[in-house]
C-alpha cells in the first residue's frame, strides 16, 4: 500500500507498540530496584544480578537449557530443512497431505497436548526421562517451525540454478551442498535461531517430558513465579530478554545491511550495457 499514514494510523501504532513493550520495559526497570518489594521503587541497584550469579540452581538450570536448546535446534534444523525440501520439491507422493498435516499441526497444537502425548510415548517405550527426552520433544515441534521458515525461502528459489549445476556435471547430492544449501542458508540460520529460542522459552512441554536432573530455566522460573514476583526473577528475565533481543536485532541488521549493499551493487551494475 502507498499513501502516508493518518493521525489514526500513527496513534494505533504508538498505542499498540506501547502495549507490546511497556510490560517488558517495566520488568527491566524493576530488575534494578534496590527494594525487595518489587513494585515499590527503592533506588537503583544491581545487587539482584550479583545475587543471581551466586544462585547455583538457577545457573545449573540455565546451563541445561542452553544445551537442550543447542542440540534440539541443530537436529530440528536438519530435519526441518529436509521436511521443507519435501514440501516444496517432492511433488505428489503417498501420504503427502498427512505429511504436511504433521508439519502444520504442531504450530497450533496446544502445548499441554504435545507434552502429555510425548510423555506417554516415553513411558510406553520405557524410556527414562531427562535431558534426551526433552531434546526429542523440542526437536519434534521446533522442526515444524524450521520447515515453515525454510519453505518460504525455497518457494522463491530458481530451480534452474540446480539444473545448471547438474548440467555442468555435479551429481544431485553434491549439488545440494554446493549450490542449494548456500543459497537457502539465511533461511536455515533463521530456522535454527527460531528453534533455539523456542526451546529456550518452553515451559509446558519440558515440564511433561523432563525427568530428574534436567530442570530447565523456564521450569525454575515458573516454580519461583508461582511463589510471587521477586527481583531475582526480574533480573533473570531481563538477561534473557536482552540476550534474545540483541541476537534478533543483530541478525536483522546484518540482513538489512546485506540487502542494502546488494541493491547498491545492482544499481552500480545497471546501465553497464548502455
Amino acid at each position: 500500500m502507498t499513501r502516508g499514514p493518518s493521525w489514526f494510523n500513527v496513534t494505533s501504532i504508538v498505542l499498540g507498540f506501547s502495549f507490546l513493550y511497556l510490560p517488558i520495559v517495566l520488568l527491566v526497570i524493576y530488575s534494578f530496584n534496590e527494594s525487595r518489594l518489587v513494585t515499590v521503587w527503592g533506588g537503583f541497584s544491581t545487587k539482584w544480578y550479583v545475587e543471581l550469579l551466586q544462585n547455583d540452581q538457577l545457573l545449573d538450570a540455565a546451563w541445561v537449557t542452553l544445551r537442550v536448546a543447542f542440540v534440539s535446534a541443530s537436529v530440528a534444523t536438519v530435519l526441518g530443512t529436509m521436511a521443507a525440501l519435501v514440501l516444496v520439491r517432492s511433488g505428489r507422493f503417498m501420504g503427502r497431505s498427512m505429511f504436511s498435516g504433521m508439519i502444520f499441526a504442531p504450530l497450533v497444537m496446544p502445548e499441554v497436548i504435545l507434552g502429555l502425548s510425548l510423555l506417554l510415548l516415553f513411558v510406553a517405550m520405557d524410556q527414562a526421562r531427562g535431558f534426551w527426552t526433552v531434546i526429542i520433544a523440542h526437536t519434534t515441534f521446533a522442526m515444524c517451525y524450521v520447515a515453515v521458515v525454510v519453505q518460504s525461502r525455497l518457494v522463491g528459489f530458481d530451480k534452474s540454478v540446480e539444473e545448471a549445476a547438474e548440467d555442468l556435471g555435479c551429481p544431485p547430492i553434491k549439488t545440494f551442498f554446493l549450490i542449494t544449501l548456500p543459497i537457502i542458508l539465511p533461511g536455515v540460520i533463521a530456522g535454527w535461531m527460531l528453534a533455539f529460542t523456542l526451546s529456550l522459552d518452553d515451559l509446558v512441554i519440558a515440564s511433561f517430558t523432563t525427568g530428574p536432573g534436567a530442570t530447565t530455566l523456564p521450569m525454575k522460573i515458573y516454580s519461583q513465579v508461582r511463589l510471587g514476583v521477586t527481583p531475582e526473577i526480574n533480573a533473570v528475565c531481563t538477561i534473557l530478554v536482552v540476550l534474545v533481543s540483541i541476537g534478533v536485532i543483530a541478525a536483522s541488521i546484518a540482513t538489512k545491511r546485506q540487502q542494502v549493499q546488494r541493491e547498491r551493487d545492482e544499481r552500480a551494475a545497471f546501465g553497464a550495457d548502455g
Binding site: 499514514p5 493518518s6 494510523n9 517495566l26 502444520f104 499441554v112 514476583v229 534474545v244
Partner: protein, 307 residues
Amino acid sequence: MSKAASKSKRGLGGWGLIAVPYFWLLIFFLAPFLIVFKISLSQVAVAIPPYFPTFDLAEGWQAFREGLSELSLENYVWLTEDALYWKSYVSSVYIAAVSTLITLLIGYPIAYGMARSPEAWRPTLLMLVILPFWTSFLIRVYAWIGILKNEGLLNQFLMMLGLIDEPLVILNTNAAVYIGIVYSYLPFLVLPLYASLEKLDGSLLEAAEDLGCPPWKAFWKITVPLSLPGVIAGCFLVFIPAVGEFVIPDLLGGSETLMIGKTLWVEFFNNRDWPVSSAVAVILLLILVIPIVLFQNQQQKMAEKNQ
C-alpha cells in the same frame, strides 16, 4: 509447462529425504496420540506407570487380550458427569473466542497503520512486532503480574492520577486472563494481517475513490475483503493455541478461571490421574480438529498461490 511438472523419477536419496522427517513425525508426533487414546481408555492405578492395564508383548497374546478387555470408556463417562470438565471446555472456547475478537480489534489498526507507514519504517516496525515473539512467553506473562496485582504498577498509577481510591482487583480474575492472551498472541495476529495488507495495491483504493467511493467506504469495500485471508489466518493462530493455554490462566487467572489446559495440568501433575487427563486431551483435540484442519487448508491454499 515442463518446469511445473513434477519429476516422476525419485532416486534413493529422494526417498530418504522424505522418509527421515516423515518417520520422525510419525513416531514422535502421531504415534503419541494413539498412546494418549489408549491410555484414556485405561484406569488409574497406584503403580509405575500409574495406569492399568499396561501391555507387555513379553507376557504373550493371552495377557494382551485380557488387557484389551480391561479398556473402557469409563473416563469419558466421568468427564460428562463431573461438571468441572465440560464447564472447562465451554469456558476455554469462550475465553479464546472473546480474546481472539479483542486481539483482532486491537491488532487490525496496528497492522493497518504499519501497512500505511512510509516504506522506510516498515522493516523496523515489522521487527518490533516480531521481537516479542522471540522473547519468552513465560517472561511476558510474568511481566503482567507486577503490573496487575493489587499493589501493582497499574493501580499505583491510577491512584496517583486520582481516578480510583481503592485498588482494582484484576490479577487472578478472568480480566487478567483476557489481557494476558491478547498481549501474548497479538504478534501472531498482526503478522499475517500485515502481510496481506501490505500486498494490497494502493491503486485499488485510488480506483475506488476515482469511481466515486468515499475513503471510509473504500476501506470497507476494498481493504477489508482483501485482507480477509490475513484476518482468518491470524484469528486461527490466536484461537487454537489459546483454547489449550496453560501458563496464562495459571499465572494470571484465579480460582474462578476455568480453562481446560489448566484442568489437564492439575489432573496430571497434582492428581496424577493419567487416564483422565488423557481423556481430557482427546476431547480437547477433537474440539480443535475442525479449526486446525480449516487452518491447514487455508495455509495450503496460500502456499499454492505463492508458488
